[in-house]
Amino acid sequence: MVTREDVLQMARLSKLYIKEEELDALTKDMDKIIAFAETISAAQCEQTNFDNINNLSNVLREDVVVPSYDREEILKNAESQDEGYFLVKRRS
């Protein structure tokens, strides 16, 4: 069972603000989502090796420098910027 406290905790970790009146509905929804995901627990999988499920390993790149993007491009989608920095509201 997902509790209201669980939802509040998740919201806090995700830095989301949730209104009191939304909380019950969200808790119910979250419970349904978890229940749906739980379906997978029914699968018989004791024999499966999960270390490497896609049978791929060591997809690696050489340590060779590729030119970076122009700063203008990098900052293009920033909501706020100043002197070449991304700007966000102060967080301590």
Binding site: D51, N58, L75, N77
Partner: protein
């Protein structure tokens, strides 16, 4: 002290690869803000990270050099937290399958500090808090790190310091990091708890984040140990929390409240595949490791007869050790070479950075040739010393400064004549010496050395001068 310190360290070491861990952006330090960035390292949706081969290789070397087991199979995980230094709101790290585990580092007192694990991960961006805003620079975001986690085996502040110094030395020797604390390429989180002496249970611990100098680490630990001891003395409890050290006020303060307690919700990074390391590769890397500082130290002391204190100074920086070894090739007494380096060359490379680079004008081969002149009896120690100074000034071989006629020293008769002259020409010094001022002998000796153009043997000359002055009473 009635409490015993129990401490473990998490050390972050920035790897000196050319590129970031998941993209081809440069890792160079100090570029203009946000100019070493691309869509991958600023975490734009739809981008795919690709692991840098060199990061895996360097981490394996770090593991082997600290006596770790290397995992044949490991993987990357997402560590979720929301903070502007991480544009994706998660850091790609390793959780339950680190690349290296179960190693140790041995301290000079013989105690082994266990290394729980070494894993690879990406560094976060840099935040500058100013004018009520936070300025974000992602140049450092995605720079590869290894995190070296120790067991809570450290029992004193000195041990903590030596542990970090040893890690730094080892990582520099194997060339995986420059470990410059002042540039942040080596930084530590220090866990601290106290317990009554004799107790085997652990007390409640606090963690001081991001120590980036040995001085501050020592001071922060001292402060935190006394703070906890005071609490315990008063019968109060230590709160488990994360602290930051305020340098200006020499105290620690809590970083986050309880409601933000760590809850990283790790899960496998689905964008990156398994890392497999074959035994063949591990063996190959093991064979490639250079001689490490501890082994070098033992060899210098036991085989070359270097005193321990001097051997410690020589092995501390790999380039110094290499220089010493080249300059001692074929030399009868390597101690002479050690003395030249420690007594004379070190005076010209005073700070840590200069010793680390050890970029001096004189080639080790020229130093060796100079010491060989001493070995063959052609010059005496004092001429070696003064010639070395000139060679260091100009980077030229000994032959440029010592004339053929200067070699071979002076015979007994000449030495006696020089001493007689010295006494005759310095009546005041003779009187001072006889009056009890032993230092006055130096001016007599200086006269002899000068007039023999440095060829006289200073030890013999001094002996003879004392004899003659006393006889003149």
């Amino acid at each position: 002290m009635k409490y015993e310190l129990v401490s473990g360290l998490e050390t972050h070491v920035e790897l000196s690869t050319n590129t970031k861990i998941f993209c081809g952006c440069t890792t160079d330090f100090g570029g203009e803000q946000n100019t070493h960035c691309c869509p991958i390292c600023i975490g734009l949706p739809g981008t795919l990270p690709k692991l840098n081969q060199k990061v895996v290789d360097y981490a394996i070397m770090a593991g082997l050099a600290t006596n770790c087991e290397i995992s044949h199979i490991s993987k990357m995980d997402r560590k979720n937290y929301c903070y502007p230094d991480l544009p994706k709101a998660y850091q790609i790290s390793q959780f339950d399958m680190p690349l290296c585990k179960n190693g140790y580092i041995e301290l000079s007192n013989g105690r082994r500090i266990g290394i729980t694990r070494i894993h690879i991960e990406e560094d976060a961006g840099k935040l500058v808090h100013q004018r009520g805003n936070t300025y974000v620079d992602y140049n450092r975001g995605g720079v590869p790190l290894i995190e070296i986690v120790s067991e809570p085996d450290i029992r004193s502040i000195d041990e903590a310091r030596e542990y970090v110094e040893k890690l730094q030395m080892i990582m520099r020797y194997i060339g995986v990091s420059d470990c410059k604390m002042q540039e942040g390429s080596l930084r530590c989180d220090v866990n601290i708890s106290l317990r009554p002496v004799g107790s085997t249970e652990f007390g409640t611990r606090t963690e001081i984040k991001n120590m980036n100098s040995f001085t501050y680490m020592t001071k922060a630990m001292e402060y935190e140990v006394s703070r906890q001891a005071e609490l315990l003395d008063e019968g109060k409890e230590v709160t488990q929390e994360t602290l930051r050290y305020i340098v200006e006020e020499n105290r620690t303060e809590s970083m986050r409240g309880k409601e933000d307690a760590n809850d990283y919700r790790y899960f496998r990074e689905p964008d990156l595949v398994t890392i497999e390391v074959s035994q063949e590769k591990i063996d190959r890397f093991k064979a490639l490791l250079p001689e490490l500082p501890d082994a070098k130290f033992a060899r210098y002391v036991n085989e070359l007869g270097i005193p321990e204190a001097d051997a410690g100074l020589l092995v501390k920086y790999r380039k110094v050790a290499e220089y010493f070894e080249k300059a001692s090739q074929g030399v009868a007494n390597p101690k002479v070479v050690a003395n030249c380096i420690i007594g004379q060359i070190f005076r010209r490379v005073e700070n840590e950075t200069e010793k680390e680079a050890f970029d001096i004008a004189l080639s080790p081969e020229y130093l060796r040739d100079l010491v060989l002149l001493l070995d063959s009896g052609k010059i005496k120690m004092n001429l070696l010393k003064s010639t070395l100074e000139k060679m260091l000034d100009e980077g030229k071989p000994a032959a440029d400064f010592i004339k053929e006629e200067d070699m071979g020293g002076v015979d007994a008769d000449t030495l006696k004549q020089l001493c007689t002259d010295a006494i005759a020409n310095n009546p005041n010094a003779v009187a001072d010496y006889l009056g009890g001022k032993e230092k006055a002998l130096k001016s007599l000796l200086g006269f002899v050395m000068k007039n023999s153009r440095g060829r006289a043997d200073a030890v013999e000359a001094e002996k003879l001068l004392i004899e003659m002055v006393n006889a003149s009473k």
